[in-house]
């Protein structure tokens, strides 16, 4: 039985008519509502999910398509509040010019070469 699950995000999805990336809120549901020990690794362009100062808004014919204003950062915060470990890859941050000070509080920064050990610590890996 798998108990420790690592969920990896690589490509962000924004403004898709879902309140947020469906993979992200599916993961948040697993964190909040299941006994599984789920951790998250943000790498590649998905490191932007951990940037705290996000704002989501798009209007069509005067109507907001994202009325809840849900940002990936809010879901990252939600998962942290529910006990999940959320990591981002330092090199992917650096390549995009994102300083660690811009991240949601509580997100851990790890090196690219640390990720193999993180994989080994888990029973299962989901890559979105």
């Amino acid at each position: 039985m798998a108990h420790r699950i690592l969920v990896i995000f690589e490509k962000p999805i924004m403004l898709s008519f879902e309140p947020a990336d469906p993979h992200l809120f599916a993961t948040a549901l697993g964190v909040a509502d299941t006994p599984l020990e789920i951790s998250v690794l943000l790498r590649d362009s998905a490191v932007t999910y951990a940037v705290s100062a996000q704002a989501v808004s798009a209007r069509i014919l005067g109507q907001e398509i994202a009325p809840s204003g849900t940002t990936p950062a809010r879901l990252v915060t939600f998962m942290l509040e529910h006990g999940a470990v959320v990591r981002v890859v330092r090199e992917d941050l650096e390549e995009r010019g994102i300083p660690p000070s811009d991240l949601v509080a509580g997100v851990r920064v790890v090196g690219r070469f640390d990720t193999a050990e993180i994989f080994a610590e888990n029973d299962g890996v989901i890559l979105w």
Partner: protein, 148 residues
């Protein structure tokens, strides 16, 4: 070309735009971009012809339903959200009283996905021939690739 008259800027006036869209929603931003662009074009009196194929034929599935979000996620996701089809329907209706928008879904793609009989009112099930008629009759063509 629909028109080669110059506009105020000296550039050729655009009166008709063809948009080729091949992505569905809920995992991609392209449909959002297309709808926002179509709205602005219609506001300026520009005719919009959307040719939807591949996964984009599901955007006009009339059976899309608004649903409640999972209870534990409502603090972050809200109670519910509107499906993409509602916005397409409203843009098609907006065209009744201004510049028009035609939305054509590829019959082959719709049949493959079982949505041919589920297209919303206002969406037209068409053929690849319609794609090339739209392209040939447009002043500008905007195509968004499938990975967007």
């Amino acid at each position: 070309m629909h028109s080669d008259e110059p506009g105020p800027s000296g550039r050729r006036r655009v009166r008709r735009v063809a948009i080729v869209l091949s992505t569905g929603s809920y995992q991609r931003e392209a449909p959002t971009t297309v709808l926002r662009l179509a709205e602005k074009l219609l506001e300026r009196g520009i005719e919009v012809n959307v040719w939807a194929f591949e996964e984009a034929v599901t955007l006009t599935n009339q059976d899309q339903m608004e649903h409640n979000e999972p209870p534990s996620l409502r603090p972050v996701l809200g109670e519910s959200h509107a499906p993409v089809g509602r916005f397409i329907d409203q843009l098609l209706r907006a065209g009744l009283h201004g510049a028009k928008m035609d939305w054509v879904t590829c019959i082959l793609c719709a049949q493959e996905r079982g949505v041919e009989k589920h297209q919303m009112g206002g969406a037209i099930v068409g053929t690849l021939g319609d794609l090339w008629k739209f392209v040939g009759g447009a002043d500008q063509v905007i195509a968004i690739p499938a990975y967007r």
